[in-house]
């Protein structure tokens, strides 16, 4: 059996969760996941291909010791690193590449930046909360979304607003 899926279909279904129990459903889910993994590695679509996952690893290595900022910062934990990696991979394929940072409370940050007044920062906490804040001209938005493996719509919408031409 050959099942072909267009890239657009894989992009649109995000992390491709399956609720089916049949062999065919699992096969389709596996194929979608494999396609998504390949697209993640492409420069055009994926965070891995754009070097974001490498940057994440680099920041984690720089911030894994206590007091990494000279002011008493908490270290970034392995758990937070894995959550950040999952969050980045859960973003819709084709999402603009963010930059990675860290905050002194041990949260990792993912930032989309056009200008000082057009920016979105998402903090990934060790307990899986996504705290976000955005400046979009004179407007501002901030809040918290839980992360259960899929990128929250509120955050995806803000990425589009910040990065819109």
């Amino acid at each position: 059996m050959i099942i072909e899926m267009a890239a657009s279909a894989i992009i649109s279904i995000g992390s491709a969760p399956t609720h089916g129990a049949s062999e065919t459903a699992w096969f389709v889910a596996d194929e979608a996941e494999e396609g998504r993994r390949r697209l993640q590695e492409s420069y055009a679509f994926g965070m891995a291909g754009k070097g974001v996952l490498s940057e994440l690893l680099q920041i984690v290595q720089e911030c894994r010791d206590p007091n990494w900022d000279g002011y008493g910062a908490e270290p970034v934990s392995d758990g937070t690193y894995h959550l950040a990696e999952q969050f980045l991979k859960a973003l819709p394929l084709g999402t603009a590449a963010p930059s990675i940072g860290a905050e002194p409370d041990g949260h990792l940050t993912v930032e989309w930046y056009r200008s000082p007044r057009r920016t979105l920062s998402v903090s990934i906490s060790p307990d899986g909360d996504l705290h976000y804040a955005a400046l979009i001209g004179t407007a501002k938005a901030f809040g918290t979304e839980p992360f259960f493996g899929e990128a929250p719509k509120a955050i995806v919408d803000l990425i589009h607003r910040v990065m819109a031409a």
Binding site: I59, E62, C63, N67, W68, D69, G70, Y71, G72, A73, E74, S99, I100, G101, A102, E103, P104, D105, H107, T109, E111, Y113, P116, R117, T119, S121, S123, S125, H131, Y132, A133, A134, L135, K140, F142, G143, T144
Partner: protein, 138 residues
């Protein structure tokens, strides 16, 4: 350096310095990420008043923060007091004698993280680009 025994009151127009000791807090164009202004250990954000310090003395304080812990001083964010006050924050003198009589803390931060982040973003936007330390003090 200012007199540690007689701390002048904080003026809304005076300058404060926040030393940047993490490369991840700067963007490639040297604008400053909000990450550098998140208060931790909560609820204080540590800053240094320029007051009567020369540029060299100010940078020396940054080096004194960085060197004992083996950190690199990547830059300095300068922000006026009123930028904090406009966001309902207060700047309070907190002299560290003898190492930094101009040391102060920014207090009054909200407890929840998203509210801290939006304030930190606004301060970072006001701060503009980080100043680069002189070559001898990098």
């Amino acid at each position: 350096m200012s007199n540690g025994g007689n701390v002048p009151p904080i003026d809304s127009n005076e300058w404060l310095a926040r030393f940047i000791l993490s490369r991840s807090h700067l963007r490639p164009d040297r604008t400053i990420k909000q990450d550098a202004f998140i208060p931790y250990p909560y609820p204080d954000l540590s800053v240094t008043r320029h007051l009567q310090l020369s540029a060299a003395e100010l940078w020396q304080i940054g080096c004194d923060v960085a060197l004992p812990t083996g950190k690199t001083l990547y830059g300095r964010a300068d922000v006026r007091v009123f930028v904090f006050q406009q966001r309902e924050l207060q700047v309070v003198p907190d002299p560290l004698i003898p190492e930094n009589p101009n040391h102060s803390i920014v207090v009054g931060w909200p407890a929840d993280k998203p509210a801290q982040k939006i304030i930190a973003q606004q301060i970072a936007a006001a701060a503009g680009k980080a100043l680069e330390p002189p070559p001898t003090q990098k």
